[in-house]
């Protein structure tokens, strides 16, 4: 089969256009001189300058970043623990129920998750702010981490852990020295997934955010209701840059990890 047949090239081009054309347009228009978003009037970076002078956006960005880092880290720890128990503990009473319960938030409508969390926070009298957003994001992103990590754990040869025990490791050492290095790529991608989910969540954040803490998606959404400004385009471009950088970094890390020979502890 020819590698560069017209069919292959067309389907590739169509697919990528479908995925990335809207984003590309957004990036191009963020450098637009004109205040009207859809009319090109020459190259300019003035919207970026304005963005960095806008306190509201900067505050929201800082809140979003804090929430994303904390919630994805907590979600990764919880998700790895859940995956490990569900895959490794063998059959136990209620196992099917537990795994079902962990994966249910994947298909739960976000609006329901958001509403139920709101009711809980009001019920226990927790003031809405960064803490509540972090809790809410941890709740819904840990199941994604757990799915990613357990799919790796299923493939992981259990006799490797037994070999570690056999050679003198305690259970914790076996996990630390053998299991962890081997499922690390899955954990990193789980963390990145949780981070990204937290970064772009609007629905759940709107339920759990309070007057003191607004995340970037909420800020963008509320300002877009007053009309799309080129500032938003600039902000989105920066966000895209952030995510792209993160993904490239993650893939470089896992590549370097697998190539390096110095894994001695």
């Amino acid at each position: 089969m020819k590698r560069y047949s017209w069919f292959n090239v067309t389907s590739l081009a169509a697919g990528f256009a479908f995925l990335y054309l809207p984003i590309l347009i957004l990036i191009i228009y963020s450098f637009n001189e004109n205040r009207l978003v859809t009319i090109w009037a020459g190259f300019s970076t003035k919207w970026y300058v304005e963005l960095f002078q806008n306190e509201l956006f900067l505050d929201a960005a800082w809140v979003t970043l804090q929430v994303a880092v904390i919630s994805s880290t907590v979600a990764t720890v919880l998700g790895v623990m859940a995956a490990y128990v569900l895959i490794r503990a063998g059959r136990f009473w209620g196992q099917t129920l537990f795994s079902g319960l962990i994966y249910a938030p994947l298909v739960m409508p976000e609006i329901i998750t958001g509403l139920s969390l709101l009711l809980l926070f009001i019920g226990i009298g927790l003031d809405r702010g960064i803490t509540t957003i972090v809790l809410a994001h941890t709740t819904f992103s840990m199941c994604f981490v757990s799915v990613v990590v357990s799919s790796r754990l299923v493939l992981f040869d259990r006799s490797l852990e037994e070999a570690a025990l056999d050679l003198g490791c305690t259970h914790w050492q076996a996990f630390q020295l053998v299991t962890l290095p081997n499922i690390l790529p899955a954990i990193i991608s789980g963390w990145l997934l949780a981070f990204t989910l937290s970064l772009d969540d609007l629905v759940i954040a709107s339920f759990s955010a309070g007057p003191g803490a607004t995340t970037l998606p909420i800020r963008i959404w509320s300002s877009v209701r007053l009309g799309v400004s080129p500032e938003i385009n600039a902000l989105s471009t920066i966000l895209i840059g952030f995510v792209t950088f993160g993904i490239i970094l993650a893939s470089l890390i896992s590549k370097w990890k697998s190539l390096s020979n110095s894994t001695d502890l």
């Binding site: 490797l160 070999a163 056999d166 050679l167 490791c169 290095p181």
Partner: protein, 373 residues
């Protein structure tokens, strides 16, 4: 090996390295090991042989500490193993899948166990080099497991499990993943290494040839019990049951009614056929149903009527030509098919018999063995 002539398993005063004392292991309703007692002695190369599901792997995993007996006790050098976790036992295991750590180099894989017991640096390096040397892996020390061949991986697994100088090395189907030629070479290598290191080896296998080749003693298992425990030659020449005779090598089993005679029994095995005589000192009652087991290589095939007492006539149904030997399947008028083996000392073109030929089969009165179970 002890200097005296007597083997440790025949010496009632010898202290076993491992003692299974009435061990039973159940998984829920299923009984994997059923009231089993067994002694294994120092520097033995002991083979656990049986079909899959016979409990041999469970027995090994109990020694390693990954399973614990439901009833009974296992002793290593007189010490009850039950309270000792796997990481504290002087027992190491070579896994069927090798279980090499993919993120570590060959060197670090072998050093893994030594590092856990905080071996001083110089001593560690010396020991790892010794292991690399023993398994001829010096050149591959800094490769990762996925950068070497299957045979080399097998040797890494062996080196890693020997590095801590265990009292007992367990080998779970160690050669299962290798092709036949490499497997045979490796069998001799294993025996070599076992002799050099003086470690007690317990090997689990379903391959009877492998067990016969490497082991000092073989335990044939079935359904969680030991059927026979003995040296390879006794297992082959004097199986204690139809199960063992049939499991090890090729065998002809002729069922019939026994009749006691002076130095053995006469077997009445088919109507209108002369009885078969077999020397035995087994006490068999008159009229008891038993089996006569004869190995195919102990049967002579010829066209003239033989002089011996045990002879049957039939026609050749099939010939399996294996190069060095040929196995003839001969159908008797009673419907029995008997296998007879001959060495091909002559070229195949000069073979005396062919399909449909009428031939005589004969064997001596000591060739067969009477089995009553």
């Amino acid at each position: 090996m002890p200097a005296d002539d007597i083997d440790p398993w025949d010496d009632p005063t010898a202290k076993p390295l491992i003692r299974f004392d009435r061990v039973t292991k159940r998984f829920g309703e299923f009984t994997a090991i059923n009231n089993l007692s067994l002694n294994i002695f120092e520097t033995e190369f002991f083979a656990l042989l049986g079909p899959s599901g016979c409990g041999k792997t469970t027995l090994m995993r109990m020694l390693a500490g990954f399973e614990s007996p439901t009833e009974g006790h296992i002793f290593l050098s007189g010490q009850d193993l039950a309270p000792i976790p796997p990481n504290k036992r002087m027992v190491n295991m070579m896994f069927q899948s090798y279980a090499l750590f993919p993120h570590l180099t060959i060197y670090d894989n072998i050093a893994f166990g030594l590092r856990r017991q905080k071996t001083p640096k110089a001593e560690l390096a010396e020991r790892v080099d010794e292991m690399l040397n023993l398994t001829r892996l010096e050149k591959f020390a800094h490769r990762k497991p996925d950068q070497i061949s299957g045979g080399q991986r097998q040797r890494v697994a062996l080196a890693r499990s020997l590095a801590k100088k265990p009292k007992l090395l367990l080998l779970d189907e160690p050669l299962g993943a290798l092709d036949k030629k490499l497997r045979q070479e490796t069998q001799f290598e294993l025996m070599d290494i076992q002799e050099k290191t003086g470690t007690t080896f317990v090997i689990v296998t379903h391959d009877q040839e492998e067990a016969m080749t490497v082991a000092s003693r073989v335990a044939v298992m079935d359904e969680g019990q030991l059927v026979q425990v003995s040296t390879p030659d006794v297992i082959y020449e004097m199986p204690n049951s139809v199960y063992v005779a049939d499991f090890i090598g090729d065998v002809n089993l002729i069922e019939g009614k026994a009749k006691k005679v002076e130095d053995g029994i006469d077997l009445n095995w088919a109507e209108n056929q002369p009885t078969l005589h077999c020397k035995t000192n087994k006490s068999v009652s008159n009229g008891q149903i038993c089996h006569l087991a004869i190995r195919p290589e102990k049967i002579t095939i010829q066209s003239d009527t033989p002089e011996t007492k045990n002879k049957v006539q039939g026609t050749i149904l099939d010939i399996a030509y294996l190069g060095n030997i040929s196995t003839y399947h001969v159908q008797l008028s009673s419907g029995h098919v008997i296998k007879a083996q001959t060495s091909n000392t002559r070229r195949i073109a000069r073979r005396s018999f062919t399909w449909e030929d009428t031939v005589w089969l004969s064997w001596t009165e000591t060739a067969g063995i009477v089995l009553d179970k």
